[in-house]
Symmetry: none
Subunit: 410 residues, 2 copies
Amino acid sequence: MRAEIIATGSELLSGVPETNSLFLSEELLSLGIETAFKTVVGDDEKDMEDTFRRAMDRAEVVIISGGIGPTEDDITRKVVAKIVKKRLVLNEDAHKAIHERLAGRGKDVLVANDRQALIPVGARLLRNPVGIAPGFFLFEKDSFIAVLPGVPRELYAMFREELKPALAERASGRLFLRRKVLHTCGISESAVNKAIQDIMRRAEPKVGLTAKETGVDIRIIAPGTSADQAQSHADRTEAVIRERLGDAVYAADGQTMEEVVGALLKQRRLTLAVAESCTGGLIGAQITNIAGSSGYFDRGVVTYSNTAKTELLGVPAGLIDRHGAVSSEVAKAMAKAVRESANVDIGLSVTGIAGPGGGSEQKPVGLVYTAVATDRGVQAVEHRFLGDREQIRLRSAQMALDMVRRYLIG
Amino acid sequence: MRAEIIATGSELLSGVPETNSLFLSEELLSLGIETAFKTVVGDDEKDMEDTFRRAMDRAEVVIISGGIGPTEDDITRKVVAKIVKKRLVLNEDAHKAIHERLAGRGKDVLVANDRQALIPVGARLLRNPVGIAPGFFLFEKDSFIAVLPGVPRELYAMFREELKPALAERASGRLFLRRKVLHTCGISESAVNKAIQDIMRRAEPKVGLTAKETGVDIRIIAPGTSADQAQSHADRTEAVIRERLGDAVYAADGQTMEEVVGALLKQRRLTLAVAESCTGGLIGAQITNIAGSSGYFDRGVVTYSNTAKTELLGVPAGLIDRHGAVSSEVAKAMAKAVRESANVDIGLSVTGIAGPGGGSEQKPVGLVYTAVATDRGVQAVEHRFLGDREQIRLRSAQMALDMVRRYLIG
């Protein structure tokens, strides 16, 4: 079963982000309903009519949000009624609920709000548990059409308490879907593609890729005739992909690298300090964005100038002269020094050229060294990142933390 | 002129927010092009074809993003070519640019990426200033159709540098809008509202407020029958608002606090070092995200533990015992110490409780001290921020940098 989610409201076309569909698509998926289209349309009668009709043609479930308030530009009810060729009539239950909620307000308030009790003949009312405007749903040809408020809090409550049971009934006996996202690091999109292209070509489960600064995400959408079956379908595919990609898969379903590293450090009771150059504090900021990071993160130094590398970390000026600040040798010296001076288990460092200036033929923009110092010694890795300054910094931070992860699971 | 913005990518239908359209609709508006529809469609050939055809029927400008990478599910090019009935051919310029960017990579990488140099016969190439996949645009019947990458930073750069000039030409001779955003810091939304409510009530230009972590933004949208007229309309309103709000306005049109502070430091030839506790490196990361920051930023220390504060900065353990690590006294000592040890003009520090744990009745979550040490002495400010851990950290960093700004313009 496929759905189209439609958000109405001109503000959503100029600057205001549309977020209800994120909630709705997840909820629909849990009922086995896949979202095929999301559309945003302004408060324009003709555009809305066009959008609603189109959705009914191509989706079995159409969820419309917004445009059911008390003002002039709230025309969703009217447009839906026109399309399904039904009159709008006052719903007694809705009328009563509105008056109860607005008890004590002036008469003009009540008159303006009474419009919200109008729903098309034959539609079923959806009560609003936390606001005024009620919603409704109806069937037209092969489509299930629901109208919800645009205010997120009201939409969430109405969906969960009122619409979900009705949709579950409609969806029952059909398809269940399980969605899973695997996060990888240190492997290119084309390499992932190559490693799992046979899986990606299969009709089911659907497997797709998204390249991000943090690495390549692998999306699995597995169907099944029950929630359990969809789950085990997804699990089997996940297992195959993990076997092929090994350690490159660092997390799943939105967990971040700093969460993974933080959890590992906590579990092994190990401590960390960082010495950053081109990332300028970014790694420290990421690590400490996790609540409880003070349990394993002691300190960081941002040695942006060469003097700072020498003064704060004791990296010999001669070493910097000989190899350059961006070198495997200096990265190693930084990691070793910060581990020793902070008296921690793991010292992590990064030095590189984030650009746009500062590159040369021998040491181009994007050349970055990350190093880890532990009880097993000091290791450095050379990276050659593409992208602009911010991308290079984000990738450097991610790959640096990934070195710590690989040490911890190694 | 009306536009439809189409985002492709199955991930955008299941959990990943679609954000490119926020940027695009603002940019289009500045060219006098109104966005009438926004649509999200998955990586499904039939659904994409349906969506693209529909958009060409109802909009004069169609902007499609995503699906032009090197992998199996990147099918946007193919679908567009099918609709306009043109073959895909290898574009020599694009092919050359891809090979230049991937110089040194293996042959299989190049073969996979070569697909990205294919564009429909007769289409005009849009170079990718910061990534690999090029875009293109073409005319079909009455519609202007452009295809851009899905990665936000690539889309932004390609739009600004390549597509905008072409669209501006297409849009010329119509209504002109000038959009201007003023960024304020250290003043509440209700205070801004009170100061300029007479201006906000006028029909034109439209003036609106948005509260963000970094402060309150004031949005001005001024219409005119020429670009110059719209511009001077916006300028007049901006001047009045700036006069009322004074130093609280720190920047305009997306310029960040760290850019403003960086430019001031550069201009006055002054240097900066930072000592961070609760922000964990965030201030350093922000400062060094600006190209050329090595000219004024020497170093940072992230003294997350008390030991680190004493060892790295020489903050006396007794001072921390007496006043607590989160205190005006410790903030001042940190700023003073980092200024002296780094031998810079300005020392900046922050110490606070970002939560969710660690708060007490006397020192609640959100209590943050920022301090600046300069040739005029040391000054500390106490803040009480609301919000979650991330919000408190972002607000702390912003207010800390604002202290430097106010010193520099004072």
